[in-house]
């Protein structure tokens, strides 16, 4: 039987260390919604 393997959690030490206060850049587009989304 074929079983779907759960994706192993990325080991903590694999993650790239981020500088303190790092703020990921806002996605460039699409922009903000000014009223409401239809």
């Amino acid at each position: 039987t074929v079983a779907k393997r759960a994706v192993a959690e990325v080991a903590q030490h694999d993650k790239v260390p981020r500088p303190v206060g790092f703020v990921p850049p806002a996605p460039p587009c699409p922009g903000k919604i000014r009223h409401f989304k239809i």
Partner: protein
């Protein structure tokens, strides 16, 4: 040496917003039917550098219909965006602009407007009236009755119908037809118009006086018609875009394309 490729713009960057403002003003200035549209979202922006200080910009915009008819002199900033519950109408626009020496100009635009789906409106507001087709019999009857009612009571100019802007029908708890339509003053007074001998014509462009009417007609359980018409006063027409060339009835249908 090819001009350096400009850094990619984000959709919320000030420069993107400035370009979008030029695009929205252009779209409203070059439209002659329906309502003014306001910017809701910049979906995408692409910049192609032609040469130094000369870029071509492609914008994808989400707009929303406002409550201001296109002929209203009200500045767009003062126009209320039609709420979700009023059965909103969205405009999807692709606009090509040029930015030359820091100045934006529109090269081309193409828009498609469409009303929100009835399911969406009813899901949030089961009792909200929905947009009706503009050639629905009840809508046409209400517009005719409303204009006739106004002309029979006004001491001012006899008004003729330019176009029906929108109509909604509520079925319960009472049956109500709500309509909005654009009108224009003619060269007759209402009294003269009664005298069938005189053919009432729209005023020439240099004296044109447009206006806007809203009306609600309750048909059940009792008949009740309420009409409110406001004339804008004379406005200098935009030279390069012909105003309504004839008074015939023009239906501004939701779901229309303009380029």
């Amino acid at each position: 040496v090819p001009a350096a490729t400009p850094a990619p713009l984000g959709c919320d960057d000030p420069e993107s917003e400035a370009a979008a403002e030029v695009a929205v003003n252009y779209i409203n200035d070059h439209s002659r039917h329906g309502y003014k549209f306001a910017l809701n979202r910049i979906k995408n922006i692409r910049v192609l550098r032609q040469e130094l200080n000369n870029d071509v910009i492609f914008l994808e915009l989400d707009l929303l219909e406002t409550t201001c008819h296109i002929l209203s002199p009200t500045p767009l900033a003062n126009c209320t965006v039609r709420s979700f519950k009023e059965h909103a109408v969205e405009g999807d626009c692709d606009v090509k602009l040029q930015k030359l020496d820091g100045k934006f100009s529109v090269l081309a635009s193409k828009c498609h407007s469409h009303a929100d789906s009835s399911e969406d409106v009813l899901q949030l507001c089961p009792e909200c009236p929905l947009l009706a087709s503009l050639n629905n019999t009840e809508v046409l009857t209400t517009v005719t009755a409303a204009l006739s009612d106004h002309n029979s009571k006004t001491a001012g100019a006899y008004l003729r119908l330019l176009e029906i802007g929108r109509a909604r029908i509520q079925h319960r708890p009472v049956h109500i037809i709500s309509v909005e339509f654009a009108v224009a003053a003619t060269n007759c007074s209402a009294a003269e118009a009664k005298d069938n001998g005189k053919a009432c014509q729209l005023l020439p462009d240099d004296q044109s006086n447009f206006g806007f009417c809203t009306a609600t007609q309750v048909t059940q359980p009792s008949q009740d018609l309420r009409v409110d018409c406001q004339l804008y006063g004379h406005q200098v027409p935009t030279a390069d875009v012909p105003l309504f060339s004839r008074p015939g009835v023009i239906y501004s249908q939701q779901g229309q394309d303009t380029s």
